[in-house]
Amino acid sequence: MQARADKIRETAKKLLADGKVDVVIGYKKGTVPMREAPFFAYTPEEADQLVWTSFCCGNLANFAIRREKGEAGKFAVVAQGCVSRNLVGLLTENQFARDDIHVIGVPCLGMCDRRKVADKVGGKLIVEVTEEGDELVVSGQGWQEKVARKDVLRDNCLTCQHRNPVISDELAAEAVDETMGGDIDFTAAPWEKLDAAGRWEAFTAEVDACIRCYACRDACPLCYCHVCFVDESQPQWCGKTQDEADVASFHVLRAFHCAGRCTDCGACESACPVGVKMRRLTSKIEKDVRELYDYEPGMDAEATPPMSVYRPNDPQEFIK
């Protein structure tokens, strides 16, 4: 991890010093442990603050399309496998040109889930987390514990299928194995084995804690509509309350909008303040898209996204 961080910093400094890019979008140390924050480095000095740890859980592709108005110049993005796939997706959706971005690719070893770490140490207050090889050194006031990274990896990282960047202008480390070893088909769509009543129960129980803060939407690089459906008022597709119907409509539609685009980066779950596992919804769509339309989002900038194309012989058994 430290080697990667050093290489990212070195690359960023060089890019900024040579004037090849205006800004490098990366991570800096978060203000609380286990939450690294997105960071925009405009000068080589600022690039010193860039880090790469097990807690870079956001998705920086998100910031490639949310920059300040007037910032038109070329920018560099630090991208692991999933983020590079989102960049490809955004290229396909014409959000920027390939020439505008410089991708600092990071072959990824998976990110850790701060909630799993907290559980491992019994919910004690964590003051600092550092890394030693494959272990996290978790410390608080008067205590220190070691936790193996593989025990606290995020769910989506366990079943990751593409850990190496799909596009990159330079790599911050040697390529790693493409998968983490988890079986995505086995874990995707966990409620499929239930009957209708059981599914509704499982779904509403999962989203019950949702406070509708839309952090999942804001963390997602797919959600860049100027007016989101949740903010539309005439007609109002989705009420503002925490009523079951409103929360359910929000989560169903949010997931639907990710169809054929979601790269399973897990930023939504990492951003959620109450721990809703919305990947249980998106993984179902992802599985359908993979099985029905043989498409994996973000793997090929030339491929047309599945929802904006059709085949005359698409499956239609359910249509009378």
Partner: protein, 146 residues
């Protein structure tokens, strides 16, 4: 289910202007009998159908949704129904995955000449939704919330 035999469902039916809407018209002109339990909403093409419409219908208390348009290849706008088909597939799978009973959502291709197919499909859709009874999920009951 016999306990639903007296139940008259409310069904939102979204029909494409160019075919199923005409098919319904022909069925009527031909005096073909079908159950009167659906409210028809005319849309320009099934490609205009948004998944939001389906959820909005459920929010406002329908017991089932039926979307019908032109046969693949016959779209007035060349390919609207092909795009719609992919959206329906994903949306139907997703709604059934979160617990909406199979049988509340119906899709069909009916041309404006297929009055008998319209009659048969209308009967089938209404019977399927009637058998399920009143909808229980995704309903926004304003009185309950306020």
């Amino acid at each position: 289910m016999s306990d639903n035999s007296e139940f008259r469902p409310r069904i939102a039916a979204f029909f494409c202007n160019w075919c199923t809407y005409g098919g319904a018209d022909l069925a009527g002109v031909s005096r073909l009998q079908y159950p009167p339990d659906f409210r028809v909403i005319r849309i320009p093409c099934t490609g205009r159908m948004s998944p939001k419409f389906i959820l909005q219908a459920f929010r406002q208390g329908v017991d089932g949704v039926w979307v019908s348009g032109c046969h693949p290849g016959d779209c007035h706008y060349i390919a609207g129904n092909y795009y719609a088909r992919r959206r329906f597939t994903i949306m139907k799978n997703l709604l059934e995955y979160v617990g909406i009973e199979p049988g509340r959502l119906h899709f069909s291709w009916i041309s404006s000449a297929e009055a008998t197919k319209f009659q048969a499909t209308a009967t089938e859709v209404v019977e399927a939704i009637r058998a399920l009874g009143p909808a229980k999920h995704m309903i926004k009951d304003i009185r309950e919330v306020a």
